[in-house]
Symmetry: C2
Subunit: 410 residues, 2 copies
Amino acid sequence: MVATHMDWNRRFACRTRHMQRSAVRELLKVAARPDIISFAGGLPAAELLPVEEVRQATDAVLMRHGGRALQYGESEGVAELRDWISRKESPPGAALSRDNVLIAHGAQQALDLLGRVLLDSGDTVLVENPTYLALLSAWRPWEVRFAPLPSDANGMHLDRLPHVDARHARAKLLYTIPNFQNPSGTTLSEPRRQEVVQRCRDNGIGIIEDDPYGELRYEGDAPPSLYALDAALVRGSPEMSNVLRVGTFSKTLAPGLRLGWVVAPRMVIDKLVQARQATDLHTGTLSQWIALELLEQGTLEQRLPAIRTEYRHRRDVMLAALAEHLGAWATWTRPAGGMFLLVTLNTCISTAELLPHALKAGIAFVPGDVFHTDGSGANTLRLNFSNTPPDRIAEGIRRLAEVVSSRSVG
Amino acid sequence: MVATHMDWNRRFACRTRHMQRSAVRELLKVAARPDIISFAGGLPAAELLPVEEVRQATDAVLMRHGGRALQYGESEGVAELRDWISRKESPPGAALSRDNVLIAHGAQQALDLLGRVLLDSGDTVLVENPTYLALLSAWRPWEVRFAPLPSDANGMHLDRLPHVDARHARAKLLYTIPNFQNPSGTTLSEPRRQEVVQRCRDNGIGIIEDDPYGELRYEGDAPPSLYALDAALVRGSPEMSNVLRVGTFSKTLAPGLRLGWVVAPRMVIDKLVQARQATDLHTGTLSQWIALELLEQGTLEQRLPAIRTEYRHRRDVMLAALAEHLGAWATWTRPAGGMFLLVTLNTCISTAELLPHALKAGIAFVPGDVFHTDGSGANTLRLNFSNTPPDRIAEGIRRLAEVVSSRSVG
């Protein structure tokens, strides 16, 4: 009876070599120390979350539905919540139905499921450069090739589309966050949206439109979604869409409910449901009923103005502080909404190497290299402005400037 | 400007050929009609779910934690809930810590994540025959080979272990539900547990112990878990364990909260966390805090006796009705706990072909072939007894016997 030491490390699947602890999420742990002013996370302001409304909604839901609200549910999600989302997401001239909607355990799961049913090893995916880190983490295990599209203040450049991938097979998908992108904060302009939609359709490239921040617009008019522009090309038929749209309640209601969704042709929803049944069966029932109750009570319309006002103020404070303290050392984006902006240092300092010094000075950010798929961005950093009170934002940027200037001189 | 019809069907990944809508879950939709007596699902009795307790717990949690209970959280799960689980799951002589626990979005996600980090294409996994359908669905996309171990009233036979796989590479994992197995209802005997644990260790085969039903024991004493037996071989060291243990609150608190867990060495938890960060970030925060509040209030100990009493009664009613009506046509298992029993028809009727006739007669069950990995089991069917009131159970079995006898004669 020998008890051999079991080395699980030698049992891990090959694909785990693509998995690393997310730098952002590991940072959040350090950054959660109260002495740190953290611009690192992507969290909404906890003080704006609808605590009392959720309490009342839970009461109402349990009173009305009893055990049904705590029971197993359908993989597609609660039908009434899918109805609500299908109404909200229907573009002009198109009528989505609940059959075009899958409720996911957060938008991140929606992206994970899409990768699972759409991506084969060797497939090429076009992404903005920089792009959302957790999308890269979610899809890398499928051994896809990410083809970066250079981006500017108006979003991605199209001149390399579709020929970006001439060396390899034609791209299968294009992934974009068109509104207040993570990490850059920039918004894809309407002319570029028109062109992306048409050229992707012409070239058989499917579009994943990820729109977590669209409701958080602080100025200007919203351009039409890629989904709406594509729908116009096929007279609004949801079954003919070349765009799959991903949404979430995490930035507007509460991230802790873990509720996101996919809008797609039924055949795609059907395949996602099959994947879902093998993954985690369905999204939490109670969370879905609570969200539906909040939506029917009008919580979203009631609270969004206050959220927008506060986040706009925080953005303005950050932009002013950057102009005051960091103007000599860096440039940055000016987002019209969302939660993030991207700073580019004029010098060739690596922001990853800067981070330990920043943490010592009591501030946190996310080094920008991890968002880039072409090895660039080492001198960039992402700042979140939604989760820090205005006075702390100003102080944090002052400290950041000190750290940058001292390292630049040294 | 041509609007080509986009055929998403041609874009699906190769692995989706392993995905089908789960027969069980699709059935549940028909079976949800009020005129159907359904033995098909695996649902707890909705009338036993702790509705008022959840309402009070939600109040308490939101009062105490405010926005924190609605905010993003750590991928590992809420620390205090991991502490609770680590205490509950510590076997005699071993002390688990929160670092040995990952909270998942239901036990199904725990199984999915384990497959993701452990399984490569071509790996062999030993499973009981029959075994849990959704485990097969979760792991098939990784293109593993399932090697079935014949099972009887005392669980799996070991005579083919480890030589079951002589033709191929050595098996990597053994997956088992040792208590009141799904779908058979049988329990792995203590001598076989001892032998499985030792032989898997000797042969370098890791064990996944899935125990959703262990708390639902209606008679007799519980044998030690495989985890505890393995721990005894390494003096209780959690880091040396050759068993990864999966648990859930879905059968004891509420499935709609979607809360399961994995107990494992830290290096495995660490890898699961990496996979989790790319999958869906973390489990719903509010659900976790609600569960912790329920556990600290003692809801589990208070309610389990009533659940056990009611389910035992339902099992007894089903066993008596089977003896009264189906004795001439079939044999069946006699589970000492859990939610299911397996019926084997004496004739070679296909239960899959029987099902439409059963639905016409107003009853539903799950045909047993889907649980078998060797093509057998066509004349078996799974019956759930937890989610149907006793008088309806008696009536349902009477109808089932009518359908079976009429098809046998015809």
